[in-house]
């Protein structure tokens, strides 16, 4: 039941979260803890990946395919793995964790990051922590995918993971070179964002995807080119070293005692996994290639979380209180995509338009003026106005608070 993206009624029920058809495996317990620095979480909130116990959605769900315990496979064959990694964005972190996990399991790892080692992009996480890969025995190189044959001249690998391309144009040079040089297994980081919106979540593997999504072309090409391939569709990821705002966006506000502005009702559901869980899934695919072969896997947590829930969990992790403020981006005239780290969360507007002014400053109990929570400010974590300027503005005015939509 695909809903048109343009309809405001259905945009709220567009891709909210995906899940996987497959149950979780108990052998993954080491990666189930959230690696927040503050271990204030008292609840046993475990984020486990949706894992694969049977290879293909085409098989009957009752066909049991058992996996041997991870420890036994660690003694198995060591692979030579190449990770082609993007140099920015939410997926950057995947290559970082995957490299470390493979190295920890004794595999040989090369990570080719797109672009140049000296570029400004490399000053941001996770790239500024690549020394961790090197000290673990991995190799870091830089280059452009179309030049991959030159950058890695004379080298061969058992496995290649393309964690860079969003369409076939970007991936083809890597795939073709991999095929020529005898790579046995080709893996691809796709995206759960390609599912066509549905009124009946969750999205599972096999659900309709957007025809325009470049990732689809890649998945098709891989299937035609490699006998052993797999595609992974993650949603949002957290983990230290994240290149893109995810949990940090919430932490930035929580630790500074700023309200967290969330567009819409805050009830929108999304799915957030830890990058380490995704890397565990990828490592398993490398170590059990027959089981992974020919499959697309949603790489998401067992549970979805509401946006409000995400804010509360971040606060809990930080051991601090949180104040959530809801707003209607359209009414304020703000691009929610810029103001908030998760997309597709544009809330259906309230049937009752708000007529109150939009400034959201108010006096915090501590006597300090809270910064104006207009979105522009929050993005750069600074106020547009100094305390003095704010105090002047509010002098004689009634403090306003945002209406819940």
């Amino acid at each position: 039941m695909a809903a048109a993206l343009s309809s405001p009624l259905t945009s709220a029920s567009s891709v909210l979260f995906s899940s996987s058809n497959y149950p979780s495996l108990p052998s993954f317990s080491p990666s189930q803890r959230l690696s927040f620095s503050h271990s204030a979480l008292s609840s046993s909130y475990s984020v486990s990946p949706a894992l694969f116990t049977f290879p293909s959605p085409r098989l009957s769900p009752t066909a049991a395919v058992s996996f041997s315990v991870r420890a036994a496979t660690a003694a198995g064959e060591k692979k030579k793995v190449l990770i082609v990694n993007t140099n920015s964005g939410g997926h950057s972190i995947i290559g970082f964790y995957f490299a470390k996990e493979l190295l920890g399991s004794g595999h040989n790892v090369t990570i080719l990051t797109v672009g140049e080692e000296g570029s400004d992009k490399m000053k941001k996480p996770p790239f500024n922590r690549f020394s961790e890969i090197v000290s673990a025995g991995g190799r870091t190189v830089w280059g452009d995918p179309p030049e991959i044959g030159k950058v890695l001249a004379g080298e061969t690998f058992d496995v290649v993971l393309d964690n860079n391309g969003k369409d076939l144009d970007a991936v083809r040079p890597v795939a073709d070179w991999a095929k020529e040089t005898g790579v046995k297994q080709f893996l691809f980081i796709s995206s759960a964002g390609i599912y066509l919106p549905t009124e009946e979540p969750p999205h599972v593997e096999g659900d309709a995807v957007k025809g325009s999504a470049g990732h689809v072309g890649v998945e098709k090409y891989m299937a035609e080119t490699f006998s052993n391939w797999a595609s992974f569709r993650p949603q949002y990821m957290i983990g230290s070293g994240n290149n893109k705002d995810c949990e940090e966006w919430f932490f930035d506000r929580i630790v500074r005692n700023r309200p967290v502005p969330i567009p819409g009702s805050g009830m929108q559901l999304t799915n957030i996994s830890h990058a380490k869980d995704l890397s565990s899934m990828l490592t398993l695919a490398v170590e059990k290639p027959e089981a992974a072969s020919g499959n697309i896997f949603n790489s998401v947590s067992e549970r979805a979380v509401t946006l409000d829930g995400m804010a509360k969990l971040c606060a809990k992790a930080a051991g601090l209180p949180v104040e959530i403020v809801h707003y209607d981006p359209k009414a304020i005239g703000v691009d929610a995509k810029k103001a908030f780290p998760f997309r597709n969360m544009v809330q259906k507007r309230s049937d009752r338009a708000t007529t109150k002014p939009l400034f959201l400053s108010y006096e915090h109990a501590s006597g300090m003026w809270i910064f104006n929570v207009c979105c522009c400010c929050c993005c750069c974590s600074t106020s547009m106005l100094s305390h003095e300027q704010q105090r002047k503005f509010w002098d004689g005015r009634e403090p306003q608070t945002c209406l819940r939509i």
Partner: protein
């Protein structure tokens, strides 16, 4: 203990004669033969689980069984060759021909179904009557409080299995969803009696299984779930939905088959299973799905802030105003059970066998709608 003679109440089921002869298999009988075939195959393919259930004929007691799940469950069990007794006060007929059920099937069922008439709140009666009969298995479909289950357990020391209809309403409200069987439960919820019953069963050492449905739907639903939408769709009225309409929930049609699947199944021993539909749906999506099911045009949805209204004691919307859905992965993987109906199929089934034939449980009441719509018109 006399057998109840079958009663046919044709008057309450107008206009069902046409297609009934081809619809002998009543578990939510579908009108399309292709789908029926699919369903028959599905039932047969429940493999090893099915074998153990059908191997031996059991003496089964159902507490309740004349209202909704029990109506379908009892038929499935009788068909599988078990001896089935319904414990009810006798207020409703033990056997009523259902829309889509052939005369023959109904005659067969009603000649076999047994009745134990009594009030389950009379624990002395429950104890004596049950111990006199000695049942192998008890399905408790209408129990709410632990105290109601005590005499049953005491009366049947050799009970093979106690299968309980609990509720996903016991889960503590959470920002992390879906609810899974291991999640925190809410000892203060409206359904705490169900929780207490589950704990009680665990404490007795009996072989128990607990099923936690979310919202249940299907023909003859006594809870106005789909009916609430159908009334408005039929009247061509807008559908008022609280707040954003993205609240996510889940409807389950295949409860009876799940209850049969756990019978005599070792893997179900002392386990809790969420049972509902495969997918979730938002309130807005559900309104549209109901429209599809009944062949209505896409409805107008009106969102409102419930805090701005005083509806008195009336309920303006049939669902809890929150996300509420549960994962059925455990049942799927442990029992090999899965729902047969998807949402629109199930709603269509309900519509064609019930509301669409002019039958429903509650009369349309649009008074709360008018309050909402009236105010919306004024402030637009």
């Amino acid at each position: 203990m006399a057998r109840m003679v079958s009663l046919q109440q044709q008057a309450t089921h107008p206009g069902f004669s046409l297609l009934t002869s081809s619809l002998s298999d009543f578990n939510g009988a579908r009108l399309h033969s292709q789908l029926q075939f699919k369903r028959k195959m599905g039932l047969q393919n429940r493999g090893a689980l099915q074998v153990s259930a059908s191997n031996s004929s059991k003496n089964i007691l159902i507490m309740g069984g004349t209202r909704f799940i029990g109506i379908f469950l009892s038929r499935l069990l009788v068909k599988e060759g078990h001896q089935v007794t319904l414990f009810t006060r006798g207020k409703a007929p033990i056997a009523q021909q259902l829309p889509g059920e052939s005369d023959q099937d109904f005659a067969d069922f009603s000649s076999k179904i047994l009745h134990l008439k009594g009030d389950r709140k009379d624990s002395d009666f429950v104890k004596t009557s049950l111990s006199a009969k000695g049942f192998d298995v008890v399905y408790d479909i209408n129990g709410r409080e632990a105290v109601e289950v005590e005499p049953i357990i005491e009366a049947l020391p050799n009970l093979e299995q106690f299968i309980y209809c609990s509720s996903a309403g016991v889960y503590l409200k959470s920002d992390l969803l879906p609810h899974s069987e291991v999640d925190a439960v809410d000892p203060k919820s409206r359904h705490k009696g169900k929780l207490e019953t589950e704990s009680f069963l665990e404490s007795t050492g009996v072989n128990w299984t607990s099923i936690r449905p979310v919202y249940i739907y299907g023909p003859l639903n006594y809870n106005p779930v789909e009916e609430w939408f159908f009334h408005r769709l039929k009247a061509g009225r807008p559908i008022p939905i609280p707040n954003s309409g993205i609240q996510m929930t889940q409807l389950g049609h295949d409860l009876a088959t799940a209850f049969v699947t756990v019978l005599g199944n070792e893997k179900a021993s002392k386990e809790v299973f969420n049972i509902s539909g495969e997918k979730y749906v938002t309130f807005d999506g559900l309104a549209r799905a109901c429209a599809k099911a009944g062949g209505f045009p896409e409805p107008e949805l009106v969102h409102y802030n419930p805090k701005e209204y005083d509806f008195g004691k009336k309920k303006a919307f049939p669902f809890r105003d929150q996300h509420f859905f549960a994962s059925i992965d455990k049942a799927k993987h442990v029992l090999g059970w899965k729902p047969e109906f998807d949402l629109v199929e199930g709603l269509t089934d309900s519509y064609e066998l019930d509301f669409g034939r002019g039958t429903f449980r509650k009369e349309a009441d649009f008074s709360t709608d008018d309050i909402i719509l009236g105010k919306s018109l004024v402030t637009a």
